[in-house]
């Protein structure tokens, strides 16, 4: 699809806005519909769009395999880290009230990092699955 001018131009115009929208959905999940899952999927959709138009090799250069696989694990570890931080600071597991001297600010902080962890894992998994499905045919079936 790299030879189709209309698709390339439209992709160049749209992909930054899709990525920005993913970040918007992530951070405004507290005030409107949104949150970690939706943001992760929209981010992965932007990268899939890029891979479809510009080729899988270019997409692998932007987000290499080792980075995507690290993202899958990093999100879960971040979530567990927030849980254990609550434990280490004197509360229960996944207790957000102890994360800050003021309990409501602690809730804000906990929810922020937890949603970030979820978004990282979901976007990593969706993108990795796409890489695996799309890359399997081009490896050639001997």
């Amino acid at each position: 699809m790299t030879r189709d001018m209309v698709l390339r131009v439209v992709a160049k115009l749209l992909i930054p806005f899709i990525l920005l929208f993913a970040l918007y959905v992530q951070f405004h999940g507290d005030f409107g519909p949104g949150g970690g899952f939706q943001a992760g999927v929209i981010f992965a959709a932007a990268m899939v769009f890029y891979a479809v138009i510009y080729g899988l090799d270019n997409a692998r250069r932007v987000l290499p395999d080792w980075l995507v696989e690290s993202m899958i694990a990093a999100g879960v570890l971040l979530y567990l880290g927030v849980g254990f931080a609550g434990l280490l600071l004197g509360g229960n597991f996944l207790d957000y009230f102890v994360l800050d001297p003021e309990p409501v600010a602690g809730q804000h902080r906990g929810i922020f990092w937890v949603e970030a962890g979820v978004a990282i894992t979901v976007s990593g998994v969706m993108l990795k699955i796409f890489y695996l499905f799309a890359g399997r045919g081009t490896d050639g079936e001997q």
């Binding site: 899952f37 499905f133 079936e141």
Partner: protein
């Protein structure tokens, strides 16, 4: 009677969709179509949870001073989890279908079963 049917139509639409999904799973032989049918079955169950959560005259459960009545947020949370788990299982099922295709050369269920019980004939041909 008609009022009862009309007020319960969302449950019965959900049951129709679930039974249609179940029918596709058990009656069709193509593995990808079976997975699509399974997805339809899973998605129809979401209606069972979201239907009772709605209150006419209310709004989405985002608390604001201008509104008094909200939809019930608890089923929304449960269904959010269910949607993501559903796509995870669909992806795993599709990966298995791809491997089956590479191992057997086909994704029709009865073909796969036939080739599974006749491995001796295949080896004799090679």
């Amino acid at each position: 009677m008609f009022a009862h049917i009309w007020s319960h139509f969302d449950y019965w639409a959900m049951l129709f969709l679930a039974m249609a999904g179940l029918f596709i799973v058990i009656a069709r032989g193509n593995l990808i179509k079976k997975l699509v049918g399974l997805g339809i079955f899973q998605t129809s169950v979401y209606l069972l949870y979201l239907g009772p959560a709605k209150i006419v005259g209310g709004t989405a459960p985002i608390v604001d001073a201008a509104f008094k009545v909200y939809s019930n947020p608890l089923p929304h949370v449960l269904i959010l989890t269910a949607i993501v788990v559903g796509v995870a299982t669909l992806a795993l099922g599709l990966a298995l279908v791809v491997r089956i295709r590479e191992a057997y050369g086909t994704i029709e269920e009865d073909e796969v079963l036939r080739r599974d019980v006749q491995p001796a004939g295949e080896e004799a041909q090679q």
